[in-house]
């Protein structure tokens, strides 16, 4: 079988570059550099690797503002075949419930798929809830937190990386898998292809209406969770006692500080 693969991905601000505006109590992302969500790059690499082996197609689906287009073009340059950007003001403020619904509708509209590959979680919200939510909307099995994916006939076999242990699961496709960050080395884009994608407008844009979704099903209105408040974490006061002297003196002082924690 030549699998029809869909990769769901997003763009995130670098987490360390986002701050809280204490007056408006909103997140200030203006100064933050955007990047492709790191585990999503690993998900794309898994998809492209499967395409190298089995043939088939890789379609990108992403929900976000128009600025995502450049990043999707980079992914097309890496070898994806087509890209759909789900972009509509109505999508703003979505929690994982309408996000997974919107992605699911787009995937169903593609006209047939075998495997959906997501990153394990986003680097900004880190919920990891979209892949299982997506699988539920699509009514297909899910294998989350995987670091290895194989396709054999119409079966997907994937290894869940569960910290110090693991499990290998298999399921009939169609199915959804989510890939852990760092599980492979994403390939470099072919910049001629990136340029071609940009020039010829390979990224298609779909709106809520094109997905047949009403305004109360998407974005903030379609969300169950709402932000009640944003607060700054309370600072923890530490002693900040600097050990002084030569290397040897520091080692002696440190050993003394640690001895109470030793057990015979």
């Amino acid at each position: 079988m030549t699998p029809r693969i869909v990769v769901s991905l997003k763009v995130v601000p670098k987490p360390e570059e986002v701050s809280l505006n204490p007056e408006t109590r909103t997140l200030d992302r203006a100064g933050a550099e955007n990047v492709l969500n790191p585990p999503d790059k690993n998900a794309l690499e898994v998809a492209l690797g499967l395409k190298d082996t089995h043939g088939g197609t890789v379609t990108l689906v992403s929900m976000g503002p128009p600025l995502f287009k450049d990043y999707l073009e980079l992914c097309l340059g890496m070898g994806a075949d087509q890209a759909i950007l789900l972009s509509d003001r109505l999508f703003a403020g979505a929690d994982t419930y309408p996000t997974s619904l919107t992605l699911a509708r787009a995937i169903q509209k593609l006209g047939g798929y075998d495997l959906v590959i997501c990153g394990e979680e986003s680097a900004d919200a880190s919920t990891g809830q979209v892949p299982p939510g997506l699988a539920e909307w699509l009514g297909v099995p899910q294998i989350t937190f995987v670091d290895e994916v194989r396709v054999q006939g119409d079966t997907v076999i994937a290894r869940r990386a569960l910290g110090s242990s693991y499990e290998v699961l298999e399921a009939e496709m169609p199915a959804v898998v989510s890939v852990v960050v760092g599980s492979n080395e994403p390939r470099f884009p072919d910049f001629d292809r990136v340029e071609a994608a940009a020039k010829s407008g390979w990224v298609k844009v779909w709106t809520a209406a094109e997905l047949g979704l009403r305004d109360d099903e998407v974005g903030l209105k379609g969300s169950y969770t709402i932000v009640h408040d944003l607060v700054e974490g309370e600072p923890v006061e530490r002693k900040r006692h600097f050990l002084q002297g030569s290397l040897e003196e520091k080692i002696r002082a440190l050993a003394e500080a640690l001895e109470p924690f030793l057990r015979p």
Binding site: Q129, V130, P132, E136, L162, V168, V236
Partner: protein, 336 residues
């Protein structure tokens, strides 16, 4: 369209407990915090245990704070599967209508909760580090660390029941187990057929899952270690400490995600944490908030980690550690 839930028809706080023959430590933590919240709401605390050959785990849940335990024991629930556990949980929830449901933010807890939220059309908050309730409205307020961990977003779900959160391991303290606590254990029969479980387990490793969040002593490696943990492992075995790492080391494949300390990883609750070669990014230090004593070793005297440490050592860890290990070995032998 959101279904209109008669919200006040939903009562009780449930905790989903994972087990591998014994309850996972995060389960004890959920029972401890759940007990407090249930008392505040004036509702009961129910533990849910799914598996096969569950034995005495229901009693254990009661000792740790549950009023009631629902046990579902079925051969097809031996070992976690999404389809098996989601079907049974959805059935229990639809029949009994809890107000609040908490999961550990573990691999399987997150896998299950994410699926159930859509099936039940309800809200789900991820990786909560603080939980409060609004008694008047019966609302759960879950605080989740936002960007960098310096910001807490307080999340609520006014519509949709149960109100669900996954809870980060290592945050809440379990109660002291009390053998005299009374509670009810109910065994619930379910109809589950093999063809309903669409993922087949090909292979499953039986290694225990180490949870660094509940370790008493922890060493945390940053990029300054260059990913070389040999010396840290020596010191760790001497101190009987677990090893955690910062996010870049996980991203570089030096250690698994389960060892990542910080706002998107594990929060430590250890009495001692020694942080080696980590500069102290805010999303990392948020994982040190509940540590008793923080020792930081770094070559850069201006590293922000020193603002977050009790004992600060400016120096090269590769020079410091070998003689330190030697000294501590001697001290330990002297104690024997």
């Amino acid at each position: 369209m959101k279904p209109e839930w008669p919200e006040d028809a939903h009562r009780g706080l449930w905790v989903y407990l994972e087990q591998q023959g014994t309850l996972l430590p995060v389960g004890h933590e959920l029972l401890g915090k759940g007990r407090e919240l249930a008392d505040e709401l004036g509702e009961s605390l129910t533990a849910i245990i799914l598996g096969h050959g569950i034995g005495d785990l229901g009693r254990e849940a009661i000792r740790y704070g549950a009023d009631e335990v629902l046990v579902v024991d079925h051969p097809l629930l031996e070992g976690y599967t999404t389809d098996g556990h989601a079907k049974v949980m959805a059935q229990l929830i639809e029949e009994r209508k809890p107000n609040i449901l908490l999961f550990g933010a573990t691999y399987d807890g997150r896998d299950l909760a994410g699926r159930l939220a859509v099936r039940l059309s309800t809200g789900l908050t991820a990786n909560a580090t603080r939980l409060e309730v609004d008694r008047e409205k019966g609302l759960l307020l879950s605080a989740v660390p936002g960007f960098g961990g310096s910001i807490l977003a307080i999340i609520k779900s006014e519509h949709g029941r149960p109100q669900m959160s996954t809870v980060r391991p290592g945050i809440f303290a379990p109660l002291e187990p009390d053998d005299t606590r009374k509670g009810q254990i109910e065994t619930v029969a379910v109809d589950l057929r093999p063809e309903e479980i669409r993922c087949r387990v090909v292979e499953r490793s039986v290694l225990p899952r180490e949870e660094i969040g509940s370790a008493e002593r922890t060493l945390v490696a940053g990029m300054g270690t260059g990913g070389d943990l040999a010396l840290l492992e020596e010191l760790a075995s001497l101190l009987e400490a677990s090893i955690g790492v910062t996010r870049p080391l996980v991203d570089n494949g030096v250690a698994g995600r389960e060892r990542q300390v910080g706002s998107t990883g594990v929060s430590l609750r250890s009495k001692l944490a020694i942080v080696l070669g980590a500069s102290g990014a805010s999303h990392f230090v948020s994982g040190l908030r509940d540590v008793g004593t923080v020792v930081a070793i770094n070559t850069d005297e201006n590293a922000p980690i020193f603002d977050e440490a009790d004992v600060c050592v400016i120096g090269d860890l590769f020079e410091l550690l070998p003689p330190l290990i030697e000294r501590l070995e001697k001290a330990k032998m002297g104690m024997a």
